[in-house]
């Protein structure tokens, strides 16, 4: 059966990073994989920037018309139809942030409805270190908005709480606690907890977590990184020491 995964969520929650990881993992398993960049909102830091890497793994990539061309009037390409019409093992949609971004999905409502029962997973990627997803109320509000705009029901959440390079297990832990509360209140299950391999293992080794609110552990590699990211000045001890004021 064709598996279809739709990743939606708050801006900067890590949808593109997870979409790449899901796609690469599927391709490694030998699955025929299609990856769709459906981000109609952002013109910077988008999945299509990693297009060559994706195609080298024999994954079919569909990008909006004019993506990465410097034009901001993106439009939905006709090739999105291939996700539904063609015979794939795994199809992954990387959708734009917030309710605004998820609106693009509404166009494919009829197609999604014709999928076999259980074939579709609509996953809300949650990073509670993002200010507008930083409380139970905000996550639930966003979830409701995205469901209305996408015309899809969210079937699960992914705990992808991180602070980029400075992530510790504390992020995964705080994410776990908050997303658990969201899950209890909304009935939406936690299907995955994502993180870099070593961090994830450390987190899983900690006691006191209910596996029901962890879901499947998803070790990820980082592909969306910039090559000059080594200098992060946000931590007080890492701020420029030699900063001089006249």
């Amino acid at each position: 059966m064709k598996k279809m995964m739709v990743l939606i969520g708050n801006y900067g929650s890590g949808k593109s990073e997870l979409a790449l990881n899901f796609a690469f993992q599927a391709a490694e398993r030998g699955e025929r994989t299609e990856l769709l960049d459906l981000d109609m909102v952002n013109t910077y830091f988008r999945l299509t920037e990693r297009g060559k890497q994706v195609e080298m793994k024999e994954i079919r990539l569909v990008s909006p018309n004019f993506a990465n061309s410097g034009i901001e009037t993106l439009s939905l390409p006709a090739e999105v139809a291939s996700a539904f019409a063609m015979d794939w093992d795994t199809v992954i949609f990387d959708v734009g942030g917030d309710a605004v971004g998820s609106t693009a999905l509404g166009r494919y409502y009829q197609d999604f409805m014709q999928l076999e029962e259980g074939a579709l997973q609509v996953l809300n990627v949650v990073n509670i270190r993002r200010p507008l997803a930083g409380s139970v109320e905000r996550i639930i509000h966003l979830q409701e908005e995205m469901q209305i705009h996408s015309r899809l029901k969210i079937t699960g959440m992914i705990n992808n709480t991180n602070l980029a390079e400075v992530t510790t297990t504390q992020e995964l832990h705080d994410g776990y606690e908050m997303i658990k509360e969201v899950s209890i209140k909304t009935g939406v299950p936690v299907l995955y907890t994502a993180g870099k391999k070593d961090l994830l293992e450390k987190f899983l080794a900690e006691e006191g977590h209910d596996p029901q609110y962890i879901g499947t552990p998803l070790p990820i590699d980082i592909y969306m990184r910039r090559d000059w990211n080594s200098w992060i000045s946000s931590l007080p001890e890492k701020r420029p020491q030699q900063l001089q004021y006249l």
């Binding site: 990073n127 200010p131 602070l163 000059w228 200098w231 420029p240 001089q244």
Partner: protein, 359 residues
């Protein structure tokens, strides 16, 4: 304090609010539309005013009005939009109105493109509008630095009664980084501290205390006097506000000069090349007006320095200031792109190796 993961635009907007800004006037333009978007949500929450003006020209004149009441006011735009604002910026400077203007630079000239650029260095630092004026101009290199500068930007604008300009490239506004957000400042307009501000006058009050905010001085003597007042503030700012960072310059044989995101790429190159045994350092101005000429000269004209590489995403605008500072004492090369391509660490490294070989 807890770290959050924020996009530059959101972080800059939130920091402005926390620094006391309660008025935002602007008009959307990529790559900074997230700033007005964020402001439109946040300003009403803090009792402030967000207004999408009919144009950039209108927005900067609304800034003029709000600043005239002593309020903390901010506007943001990107290069072509900032061009439109130049008349209003010159008027704010002439009328000595403290305010903060954000330029999230994109490619130019004209409509250019929507990718990040550093092409408005001249516009920000050497003028833009008419007349003898300057803007206190900051070029942040990271999201956190933009926040930190924003937290004192209004204080500086008010101290010297001059507009502050953020010269940020599109990358700073679009990238996400973990940041620490400072606490909200409790700012209220104090007419005692801002006697020039129009904070209310009613019939019967002393006519002499009626506020008039203007940049017109019809006769030659009064315009001359007024300009002398402005120049005195610029002299003070030059003496007190220069900021820069020297990174591993003490023993460096080659020094990269750069500002904004490019400085950050340069910093990575320094670390990479030092690991390979090359003595490379970086000098970056944080204020690009006033420009830290003396500090740059001290770092770059040290005896062991063999060459300087200026790197920018423009055709070499800051290069002129680097040359002014170095006064011909050391060889200076330039590397840059001007189609919005940000230089890679590899490109900068190769250029330095080329310089080294040629010597």
């Amino acid at each position: 304090m807890a770290l959050t993961l924020m996009k530059g635009s959101e972080a800059i907007a939130e920091a402005a609010i926390r620094a006391g800004a309660r008025f935002f006037f602007g008009y959307p333009i990529t790559p900074q539309t997230e700033i007005p978007e964020y402001m439109s949500e946040r300003m009403p929450e803090v009792g402030g005013c967000f207004l999408q003006a009919e144009s950039e020209v209108a927005a900067i004149n609304m800034v003029y009005g709000a600043a005239g009441t002593g309020a903390r006011v901010i506007t943001s735009s990107s290069s072509p939009g900032v061009s439109l604002k130049q008349e209003g910026i010159s008027y704010c400077a002439g009328a000595q109105l403290p305010c903060v203007i954000l330029n999230v630079m994109r490619g130019g000239p004209g409509l250019g493109n929507i990718q990040a650029s550093q092409g408005d260095y001249f516009q920000g630092v050497k003028g833009g509008g008419n007349g003898d004026y300057h803007l206190l101009t900051y070029a942040p290199s990271s999201v956190q630095e933009a926040i930190d500068i924003m937290m004192f930007a209004f204080d500086k604008a008010e101290k010297y009664r001059m507009p502050v300009l953020f010269l940020a490239d599109g990358i700073i506004a679009q990238m996400m980084e973990p940041v620490e957000m400072p606490e909200m400042v409790d700012y209220k307009v104090d007419p005692e501290k801002k006697p020039w501000a129009c904070t209310g006058w009613k019939p019967g009050d002393d006519p002499a205390k009626r506020g008039v905010i203007n940049s017109i001085f019809i006769d030659t003597e009064s315009l001359s006097e007024h300009n002398e007042v402005l120049q005195e503030q610029y002299r003070l700012a030059k003496a007190n506000e220069q900021m820069w960072e020297c990174y591993k310059t003490e023993d460096a044989e080659f020094i990269i000069t750069a500002f904004g995101t490019v400085a950050r790429i340069g910093k990575t190159v320094v670390d990479q090349m030092r690991a390979e045994g090359h003595k490379v350092g970086l000098f970056r101005p944080i204020t690009v007006w006033p420009y830290p000429y003396d500090a740059l000269k001290a770092a770059c004209c040290a005896p062991q320095v063999k060459g300087i590489l200026d790197v920018e995403v423009n055709e070499g605008q800051m290069l002129e200031d680097v040359k002014l500072a170095v006064e011909g004492q050391k060889p200076i090369e330039f590397f840059g792109h001007f189609g919005s391509q940000f230089p890679t660490t590899g490109e900068i490294r190769n250029k330095i190796l080329e310089m080294k070989e040629a010597m």
